[in-house]
Every structure is written in structure tokens, then in C-alpha cells.
């Protein structure tokens, strides 16, 4: 045979190859790429702008006959109600930040599908016959899903800014770094969870069913659309273990200056723990179940 070459046998070899493949499949498919970028625009534009809760508390909406309340008082009262409920006087801003987590959740959930198809089409057995570490298969896929999620979140943020997102005063670059860190941890954890669920699955139908079953509950049992404070007591504990709530909490504190559900330090610790535990578990499962 030809010359012997120096082979990288390190634990991370092949990781980027797997991530890169997934990313290529995404950015080279213009239809898919376009759809995934248009989706957040539609959500923000339609849902974000039509759910204009702020107008409920404006003088135009509240005109009680017989009581001659000055317009300025109603507007001031309305703004105060909005601020104490949502942490910002603009519901659109509240929702737009929630949309960041929303789009990250949806993209992370898709990660499981790729492993089901790879198994069905035999690509998975090809990867496994190479010397790539089994743990890297799942981490590589999770990583690609994180990168896609963050790219989409960036689009959402840009659109939201154009549509009038009201940032807090004194915003710094660090706030955005913190936002990305929170979304990164949330996406890594969620992608690992959905990859793990798909690890032994051979039918994409059942994977779709799992996704459809979980996406709305995960979203509504979080603070993405409504503040936790107004939720019924039985729902609160669920919201408080939902990682989406913590990503939202961080993002709203950093970008909008809202008073948080808990401290930033606790929020980050919770998300980091969530991501670490599920990445570790999924790597373990990958070692265990990918070799029969």
C-alpha cells in the first residue's frame, strides 16, 4: 500500500465532519434554508403584531361612560399594568424575546429526525463502520442543531428589532453574549434529549408524533407567551422546571431589563446543568445503543 499517514485517533476526531455534513445539508438546500428563515418572520409578524395586548389598556379601548377619566391617566395606568405584568410596557417586545426560545425549540426538536433517516437509509451503519467515536455521532448532530438554532434566533432578533423591539436602556454587547449563551445551553440540552429519543427509533412517523406531542406543551408550559406569575398554581412547578422558561428569563432580563423569575446566576446554573446532564446521558446512550 501507499505511504502510511498520521491518523488522528483523538476522542474528538470526526466530530466536525458530522456537524459539517448536517450544516451542508441545511445551507445548500435553498428551499429548506429559505423556509426556516421565513418561518420566524411569519410568526413574529403575524402572531407578535396581532396579539397586541397593550391596546387593551389604552384610552381608546377603555372608555367607560359616565366616568370621565382623563386619557393620560388611562394610558399611564395601562403602561404600568403592562410593565408589572410583562416586565416591559411593550407586549411585542415580551413576545419577540420569547420567540427566540420558540425558534430554538423548534429547530432543536428536528435533530431527532436526522438520526432516524440516517438509520433507515444505512448512513448510520456507514458512520459506525469508521473509527469515529460513538459519542461524537450524537454530539456532532446536537452541535449542528445548535448552530442552526442560533442562526435562526439571530434572524428573529434582527426582524424583531426592525419591527420595533424596545431594548432596555444601557444595553451592552455583553447582554447579547449572555443571550446567545442561554440559547446555546438550551438548544444543546434539547437537541440531546430529542436525539436520545430517536436513537433506537426506526420510524420517522413516531418521531414526528413525539415532536408534535411535546412542542406545544413545552411552549405553553413556559413563560414564552405569558408571565409565570399569572399562571395557575398547578402549572407553576412545571414552568419552573422547563428549560425554555430559564432561557426566556435570562433573555428578558438582559435585553428588556425585566425583573426576572429568578436571578441570572440561578438561571444560567439551571440551563448549564440541564445541558450537561442531557449531553452526558445522550452520549452514554449513544455508546450503549449504537453498538448492538
Amino acid at each position: 500500500m501507499a505511504q502510511r499517514v498520521k491518523v488522528d485517533n483523538g476522542p474528538l476526531h470526526g466530530l466536525w465532519a458530522i456537524t459539517n455534513r448536517e450544516l451542508k445539508k441545511w445551507y445548500k438546500n435553498y428551499v429548506l434554508l429559505g423556509m426556516s428563515l421565513v418561518q420566524p418572520i411569519l410568526w413574529l409578524g403575524l402572531f407578535g403584531k396581532s396579539m397586541n395586548l397593550g391596546s387593551l389598556f389604552s384610552a381608546n379601548a377603555l372608555n367607560i361612560p359616565g366616568l370621565n377619566i382623563p386619557k393620560s391617566i388611562i394610558d399611564a395606568l395601562g403602561a404600568e399594568i403592562m410593565k408589572s405584568t410583562f416586565g416591559t410596557s411593550s407586549y411585542f417586545s415580551f413576545l419577540a424575546v420569547g420567540m427566540l426560545a420558540f425558534i430554538v425549540l423548534f429547530t432543536s426538536m428536528q435533530s431527532g429526525m436526522s438520526i432516524v433517516w440516517d438509520r433507515r437509509l444505512g448512513f448510520l451503519s456507514k458512520i459506525m463502520s469508521t473509527s469515529v467515536s460513538r459519542g461524537n455521532i450524537i454530539v456532532g448532530k446536537a452541535l449542528s442543531s445548535v448552530i442552526k438554532s442560533l442562526a435562526q434566533a439571530t434572524i428573529v432578533l434582527i426582524i424583531a428589532t426592525l419591527l420595533g423591539l424596545q431594548y432596555r436602556s444601557g444595553l451592552t454587547v455583553l447582554d447579547f453574549v449572555g443571550m446567545y449563551a442561554a440559547l446555546f445551553l438550551m438548544s444543546l440540552g434539547l437537541s440531546s434529549v430529542f436525539l436520545m429519543l430517536a436513537l433506537r427509533s426506526t420510524s420517522w412517523e413516531s418521531q414526528m408524533a413525539i415532536m408534535n406531542l411535546l412542542n406545544m406543551p413545552l411552549l405553553f408550559a413556559s413563560n414564552a407567551f405569558y408571565p409565570v406569575r399569572l399562571m395557575p398554581d398547578w402549572l407553576k412547578p412545571i414552568v419552573q422546571v422547563n428549560p425554555i422558561s430559564y432561557a426566556n428569563d435570562i433573555d428578558r432580563q438582559l435585553l428588556l431589563g425585566s425583573t426576572g423569575m429568578s436571578s441570572l446566576a440561578f438561571d444560567f446554573a439551571f440551563l448549564a446543568g440541564f445541558a450537561a446532564i442531557f449531553t452526558a446521558v445522550s452520549m452514554y446512550m449513544s455508546w450503549k445503543y449504537l453498538t448492538k
Binding site: N9, G10, A17, R21, G122, I127, S131, S203, T291
Partner: protein
């Protein structure tokens, strides 16, 4: 294990779900630089054996050494030293042929500069250079199979496993694929272990063949040995004159049993007709017996196969996943390259 042996299986066994014995204590050796064929009906244990040898499956009992590495204790070293071309088309359809080969190089942790150089050579060898930058979804079945072979060779393996490399392909493409396989053996000195359903291919290209059924190896040998094992060639001849005299001459010269087919035709089995028949001619000449018609039928691989695995049909149940993969493989094999015919 001696230097001459590339694969040595010892009591290799796989039990699925505690009861289904897929591979039953098989032992065999594959010599270096040999094309070793693995034949058997669906569900005989071929793929399970290949999956164990390529470390995709852990054996329940027994082990094997591939390139001197133990498949149970040193799976990482085995993987580094072998190439695998699975039955399915595993290349990513959304990427180009070139990107697929590079990706597999990365998965092996090969340096990029080396991978590029080698990918170029391999794509050239399988004649895909012109289509290298086209998406794989446009490839024909034959092109995809060639790409799979290139992908399986990127890490300079010394042993290559090919699972049904010609499944579903047309005759010309099958011949081309076997041409590459023979070339790999001759030019790169590789050892090749191949499973196939096409018996005439095994006969023509394999140095040795193992017939496996119900998880056991029933017979191992060169195609010639296996066919001779059936009792040899069938000779039938029609004489003009005394049939009895001819019969006596045959028994005398070759000491075989002779059957009468009709009043003038005789039939007998002989180990090697190409040397036996000339001897018979001499005896006939001496005693003045005239032959008006002669035919020699050599046993085919089909007959050997039927002899060992039986003639009953196998109504084997496969999982829906497996069925999906088989259908997908056949469908892709039949696909044509849009611009050229093949």
C-alpha cells in the same frame, strides 16, 4: 495467527434476543490477498457475520481476528484497518460524490491533505472524476456503488468487506464492479470478503467460497472443488451401433455407473470429463464403436448451492426497517444517470 491469514473466525456466535441463533459457532479463515465469497439464502447469517467482523455487532460467543486485531477487544483498531461497503447505498444524497469521500476521510481522522490526494485517486479509479462535483441524488445505481467502493477505501484498508456489491445492478455494471474488485486484489494486494446472491459471480470471481445456512458453514472450498464435490461432469453420448459394447467399454475404462437414456444414448457422471472423454475415445476407436453425438455438462454453482441449502423456498420475515432499506437499495440501483446511459 500466521502472516498468511487476514481473517480468522473462531466459534463466532450471535444470538438475538436470547433465543434466535443467527450465527452458530462458525470458524473459518480467509487468506491474505484472497477474494472470499460468502453465499447463503436470506437470513442464513451472512450479514450478521459481516457485521460482527466489522465490529457493528458484538458476538454473543467466540471471536475473530481481523488483520491480527481482536474484534471484541480491539474494535477501534479493527475499524482503522478495514474498509466496509455495506449493502445499502450510504452516501449522503444531498452532498456531492467528492464531499462524501472527504467526509468519510474526516470520520477516520485522516489529515485533509492526504484525504484530498487519495480521494482524487480513488474517484479516478472508479471513473467518477467527471461526476465528482454532482450531487449523489443524480447518480445511477452503478455510479453510487462505485462511489461506495471509493468511500470504503479512503483509509487504505488491507481488508475490504463488501455486502452484496452488485445487488439490483444490470449485467454490464455488475461486470464493471467485479472488474474493480479484481483490480483491488491485484494492484493493492487487498483481501476481499464479499457476500452475493449471484452464484455465477461467486463462481467466476471468488478464490474460495463458503456456503452458509441456518447460521452454520456447510462447505468451504474453491468453486472448482465445490463443483467437483457434487460428483463431477455429466456426459451423455449417442452411439451408432451396439449400445452394450459401448457400455462395457465405458465401465472398463472409467469404472463408473452408466445409465441408459434410450436405445442409443448413454449417460454417466465422471469427475473430470475433459481428461476422461479422450481416454474413452481411444478405447472406442480400438473396438470400433462410433459416436454420433456427445455432450458434456459441468455442474453449475447453482447446483452446488441447491445441494447444500435445499430447494425449499425461504419465506423469511424481515422487520419493516429492513424491508424499507432493501426496497430503497433496489430502487436506487435501478436509477440511471441522467446524461449517460450508465
Amino acid at each position: 495467527m500466521s502472516d498468511e491469514v487476514a481473517i480468522k473466525a473462531e466459534e463466532l456466535t450471535k444470538v438475538y434476543g436470547g433465543s434466535l441463533l443467527a450465527v452458530d459457532h462458525i470458524s473459518f479463515e480467509v487468506k491474505k490477498n484472497e477474494i472470499f465469497g460468502f453465499l447463503g439464502p436470506n437470513g442464513a447469517g451472512k450479514s450478521t457475520t459481516i457485521n460482527m467482523l466489522t465490529t457493528l455487532l458484538k458476538p454473543t460467543e467466540g471471536t475473530a481476528r481481523v488483520n491480527g486485531f481482536d474484534i471484541v477487544k480491539e474494535p477501534a483498531k479493527v475499524r482503522q484497518s478495514i474498509g466496509v461497503v455495506p449493502q445499502e447505498y450510504t452516501a449522503d444524497e444531498d452532498l456531492t460524490g467528492w464531499e462524501n469521500v472527504l467526509m468519510v476521510g474526516d470520520l477516520y481522522g485522516l489529515p485533509r491533505s492526504f484525504t484530498r490526494q487519495r480521494a482524487k485517486e480513488l474517484l479516478d479509479m472508479v471513473e467518477l472524476t467527471a461526476a465528482a462535483n454532482k450531487k449523489v441524488e443524480n447518480y445511477s445505481g452503478g455510479m453510487r456503488r462505485r462511489l461506495e467502493i471509493a468511500m470504503g477505501l479512503i483509509n487504505q484498508p488491507t481488508v475490504l468487506f463488501l455486502d452484496e456489491p452488485t445487488l439490483g445492478l444490470d449485467v454490464q455494471t455488475r461486470a464493471a464492479i467485479w472488474h474493480y474488485i479484481s483490480k483491488l486484489r491485484q494492484e493493492y494486494g487487498m483481501t476481499i470478503m464479499v457476500t452475493t446472491h449471484y452464484l455465477e459471480e461467486a463462481d467466476a470471481y471468488c478464490d474460495r467460497i463458503a456456503i452458509i445456512d441456518h447460521g452454520k458453514i456447510l462447505k468451504i472450498g474453491s468453486p472448482r472443488e465445490l463443483k467437483e464435490g457434487l460428483g463431477g461432469d455429466v456426459v451423455s453420448l449417442t452411439v451408432s451401433g451396439s449400445v452394450e459394447a459401448a457400455k462395457q467399454a465405458i465401465v472398463q475404462v472409467l469404472s463408473v455407473d452408466v445409465d441408459d437414456v434410450d436405445q442409443a444414448t448413454l449417460r454417466f457422471k465422471v469427475r473430470d470429463a475433459s481428461t476422461a472423454v479422450p481416454r474413452l475415445f481411444e478405447a472406442f476407436n480400438a473396438s470400433g464403436i462410433k459416436i454420433s453425438k456427445l455432450s458434456i455438462t459441468e455442474p453449475t454453482m447453482d447446483e452446488v448451492y441447491m445441494e447444500y441449502t435445499g430447494r425449499s423456498l425461504r419465506d423469511e420475515e424481515v422487520s419493516s426497517e429492513e424491508a424499507f432499506r432493501q426496497r430503497a437499495t433496489i430502487r436506487r440501483a435501478r436509477k440511471r444517470w441522467p446524461s449517460a446511459s450508465r
